[in-house]
Symmetry: C2
């Protein structure tokens, strides 16, 4: 149900306005950007009277359209959630502004000084699903890093997003920044998402956030450069020398603490020489938490309470209390399994063997490779970034948890005194 009227701006007009706003925002100092963030936090914390009715309308539409309970939960806002959202925005004001940071610099032999400094991308596009908290989060992160942002947030949250963006735009205007620094294109529906993916020259970077199918669609169709935040078929390998207590605690933590996130464990590999020693305790503890074990025959010989694993299990990101388990001959077979099935997010080895630890770190090709730690640590907050844009599973530009610096590009500043090239 598009809300466009004859007077409403077209998508192209919105993108042109975003570019223009981005030029002003790129040179705004951190004090001004933090004032805007403070105003946004106040507007969100105090905006229940306009936000919650719009959210209730989206929820009513969702119930009517058969939106799943899980998606209704993610869509739903409450006074408490608004407070948490405002607090997250306030936290971003405390982060260091990445814009202007000198990455490297030197004086050339001819006396020219060159400095590579961080600059905003310009206009960032974000395509995500019906989660209104992402609207506020991403707007705040983009602003702090000096980027204008164009949001396509999913039609199921359209009314909520419209109110949130309107509040954000008022907050921007109240400190003298162009309201077009943050815009939504929800009103253009799927066509809008498609146009955004073609908007090379208007949009500098596109970030998809959400399900694997959403991300795959954007990666396949976008002509704008994409930063891919991907799925995690995450592995833990219990080596022959694995400490039993660490094995039990880390596997439990990686699988059970928050099974629905991308850094949660999906497949456990166990060295044949350790299987009898560690598997009963490791899997017994998981069983207490209600984890369903999908296992190969060797595992099932040691732990009867498991269903047979199929080829599908090695490829699946369950995001639930399910775990695939396989016994392997050695670290080579473990790494071969990981090469075949991993989505290159996070893998961890539990070992006391120095050679194997170093081999695993060097040879496994994932965004985060761990020794004796829970895979749940692959996270911008845990890494000390203060806020997280997403976790990149690709190799270009950013890999692993992305913080504010990953929302910037660089340029070279070159200061001479009449030099010419001989």
């Amino acid at each position: 149900m598009p809300h466009t009227t004859l007077d409403a701006p077209t998508l192209t007009e919105k993108l042109v306005a975003a570019r223009s706003a981005s030029i002003t925002l790129a040179t705004a100092n951190a004090d001004l950007k933090n004032s805007a963030l403070d105003a946004i936090a106040r507007a969100v914390a105090g905006g229940a009277d306009v936000i919650l009715p719009a959210n209730e309308l989206d929820l009513a539409n969702g119930r009517e359209n058969g939106l799943s309970q899980a998606l209704q939960d993610r869509l739903s806002l409450t006074e408490a959630r608004l407070s948490a959202l405002a607090a997250a925005v306030t936290e971003i004001t405390a982060l260091v502004d990445p814009v202007g940071e000198t990455v490297r610099g030197r004086v050339l032999p001819n006396g020219i000084r060159i400095d590579q400094v961080r600059v905003p991308f310009g206009v960032v596009g974000v395509i995500y699903e019906a989660r209104p908290n992402v609207t506020v989060d991403i707007a705040a992160l983009a602003l702090k890093s000096g980027n204008a942002v164009v949001l396509r947030g999913g039609s199921a949250a359209q009314n909520t997003n419209a109110v949130l963006v309107s509040l954000i735009q008022d907050a921007l205007a109240s400190v003298g920044l162009p309201p077009e620094c943050v815009q939504t294109i929800d009103e253009f529906g799927r066509d809008g998402a498609r146009e955004l993916m073609q908007a090379r020259g208007f949009v500098d970077v596109l970030i998809p956030r959400g399900s694997a199918s959403l991300i795959n669609t954007v990666v396949a169709e976008s002509k704008v450069p994409v930063i891919e935040t991907g799925a995690g078929v995450v592995h833990v390998f219990l080596d022959e020398s694995a400490n039993l207590d660490w094995s039990v605690d880390i596997v439990q933590n990686a699988k059970v603490q928050r099974p629905s996130v991308c850094n949660a464990l999906e497949t456990l590999l166990v060295h044949r020489g350790a299987a009898a020693r560690v598997l009963p305790a490791v899997l017994g503890r998981l069983r207490e938490s209600g984890v369903v074990i999908h296992a190969d025959d060797e595992t099932r010989a040691l732990f009867a309470d498991a269903v047979p694993a199929t080829e599908d299990d090695w490829q699946t990101e369950y995001m639930s209390l399910d775990l695939a388990v396989r016994v392997v001959a050695d670290i080579d077979e473990a790494m071969q399994h990981i090469r075949t099935y991993s989505t290159h997010h996070t893998e961890s080895i539990i070992t006391n063997d120095l050679t194997n630890a170093e081999r695993f770190l060097n040879e496994v090709d994932s965004a985060a490779v761990m020794v004796n730690a829970s895979t749940r640590f692959t996270d911008g907050g845990e890494f000390g970034f203060g806020a997280e844009v997403g976790i990149s599973t690709q190799k270009l530009h950013a890999r692993g948890p992305m913080g504010l610096p990953e929302l910037t590009s660089t340029k070279w500043l070159v200061r001479g005194s009449g030099q010419v090239r001989p």
Copy 2:
């Protein structure tokens, strides 16, 4: 004329072999990679008896197919060019290996150590035109940075490239590295280039090198992430306070020293308050070098020997002894012109006004922004990188001259002692 036979590998088989080779190459140390480079340099320097006949065959085909004289020049190899090519490979051995470099690292409050280190991309695809020197250059740069490379080098150089790649593969095998670290797919023609652009999962990064139309095609069609090395509609702005001698020397150098390259000057902007003082000398000097001036009316009033500029001139990367010239009211109009027409490669202001210098550096959004220096300095060699993969005019991953570190990704190494997330 594809060379495929029933026994020759398919393109997919070649890509699978590249991935497998890349796994070995990724953990090869610098000594081993340098041995391979030494062997390649020797093979190229001593390979005239096999390289030059193949090159002569390509040149004969080129003459028959009406290849332009300029393209024949770029295609042509000689004993002297082979020596220079070998010397360039030897120079790459002296560069620091970027693989393993720690970008940043710290110990988290819970005692976990995290380090972000450089790793090869894996498999790099390069699509370029009939320049056999690029075949050797890129193979050497890819090897040094630990990447397997798949080359699509243009059918006009197919015979030359086949011999060069064969020599390189023998050199790789002679030091114990997989020959499939360097492969050509020229035999698959245009279909091969198209398949390469679709080879997501097989190829980690695609780098197009060559004409604007080649680059635009790859950017538009590739599903593999692309690093764009683009065209340069490069500007110099002579501000009101511009030093006359610097203006004359820098404009002359930027336009005339090597007009066919992407960092050469294409459009000169002049502050109205400086035009009468500086333009006659600046343009008079260019005229001595045979430069054709395409100018607006104000310029032509001061310098009669110019042809009228049209809208096209502001958009053109001449790559020849032509220059567009325009008088502007002030730095704001100059920056507005640059925003409208620049390809975001390099722009330089000649000024003695500190405020204007800083505004230009901060507000102009290009890979390199200069004060009082020739635009010809935007170059990997000049910046001290030792070798150059190309000059990126995009904002993702790399911007400006790309050296070896720009051919790497990163990963996070995480070393714990049993930590779990609370």
